[in-house]
Symmetry: C3
Subunit: 210 residues, 3 copies
């Protein structure tokens, strides 16, 4: 049982890294569209990947920040930004990459939402604020990315549900914890809720009614 939850924990770490990469990838694409150089591409990808968690941690005073004490993430993104520069359009204008992109972006959305809600709750936030901060963790990297690229954040007028899926994931996670589920199980339910809602939203073009 221990080794089972251990391997789940490891899987989560792997998927989390893939989520970080997917978010960084959105930053690289956006920065390239604006004809930024390597410095710009790297900065925007860092903001997209770590911006949401950083804003959450600043709001609750949760020091030290994860990416500051684990510099491997920032170095990985540097390699990623360099690769995107060397490969050019081939890096992102690529069907395989684009399909993988949606999958990891959605997994990242769910993971960031549940991890964010978990951290907020453990630092003493109540249900509703934890719900908000889980969603902030998942979507504010994209908000920072769009602000620095001089765009109105896409998450505020999406064609299909996006932030709502992160909200749903945080909600399911927090309710599962309330019902006494173990952290890992609650997290898996939360990610599942995000992924399913996002899948149906994209398939049937579901958007907020107002």
């Amino acid at each position: 049982m221990l080794s089972f939850s251990h391997s789940i924990a490891q899987s989560i770490e792997v998927v989390e890294l893939l989520g970080v990469l997917a978010f960084a990838f959105t930053g690289i694409i956006e920065a390239r569209k604006k004809a930024m150089d390597l410095i710009g591409v790297y900065t925007v990808s860092m903001m997209a990947a770590f911006g949401g968690g950083t804003i959450r941690d600043l709001l609750i005073g949760n020091y030290p920040l994860y990416w500051i004490t684990h510099s491997g993430y920032a170095l990985t993104l540097l390699g990623f930004a360099l690769a995107s520069s060397l490969l050019g359009a081939a890096f992102y204008d690529n069907k395989l990459v684009n399909n993988a992109f949606e999958v990891f972006d959605t997994l990242g959305l769910g993971l960031f939402a549940t991890v964010g809600a978990n951290i907020a709750q453990q630092s003493g936030c109540d249900f509703y604020i934890s719900l908000l901060l889980g969603t902030v963790t998942a979507v504010f990297g994209g908000v920072l990315r769009d602000i620095v690229c001089n765009e109105i954040p896409k998450v505020f007028h999406r064609n299909e549900l996006y932030a709502t899926c992160a909200l749903a994931g945080s909600f399911v996670f927090l309710v599962s914890i309330q019902f006494g589920l173990a952290n890992l199980a609650a997290m898996l339910f939360g990610v599942l809720a995000t992924v399913l809602l996002r899948y149906f939203a994209m398939k049937y073009r579901i958007r907020l009614p107002f």
Copy 2:
């Protein structure tokens, strides 16, 4: 006397809530103009209402943040954003609401400026920095709102004095404290200064000479 200052304190809480709602309202209007959905409207209204105080608290390390430990505010704004969505244009394109809006926005400006200066001073800031942070508390919610809506912040090229009124309110509050006045009295003088200056600025179209 105790019950008198108690009822003043309660009145301040009521006016503060109205100020929060007025600031949130500016966020709702701005977000609607940009055709944002409910998520966008809610986020922008939260930023407009709590952004100034949050920036002040991050700058002085004043944890935990007020709106994070008092989730009732964030829930109230959710109801407010929902109402604006259900009522549509009728919600804000409405003469009664618009007149009330200017009154509460000005009261909120004065209250946020004096409360902000007070918090800064109590955390050890000197006169000038408290003056600045009082003004930041009052106007940076609007700055965040405009940045996220992809506009140059209106407060930086107002037709009539606006940030200056917050500055005046902070100044009068801090000087009153210096002269030994009680907190509540100093606050009332500060709010009065903001309201009067804003009233005359709007009536006679007073603007900064440069």
Copy 3:
């Protein structure tokens, strides 16, 4: 020896003030271009001068912020913004000022990069994160300035190396420390690296290859 390093420390303080003024100056020019009033000019110049260090300190939780406990800086910038308003275009459309500007901006870039890397390292960050935070200290004031002026940050698509020069300065500083050099010597080497690279980048129009 003590008095020698003492006079170096004093020289650094003088150059640092000149760097702060140069950065503030970029904010004044940008804000004037957008027809902002005195409030806007002052705010943007404060962001340009203190934004980078403030973001670094928020990210590592390094309280209290320097400009909050040393209000003389904020007051100096107020005088600076007022002078720019009274003198108008004569203040910045002026050959002497413009030549001095490039010199101080480059010195400021180098100083902020080395001081930033130093503070990050002393608060426990490893080599790579200190390198990043040194660069953030040097260039994120300009990023905030451009965001609030509704522009894509110039540093992300410079014609000649700019952030790269700050990065080089941080790098040389951190390597010198690694090799056991005294703080002041390492700082001088770091600033020298920034200045030289920036000089050659401007002279030969060197830019990032991608």
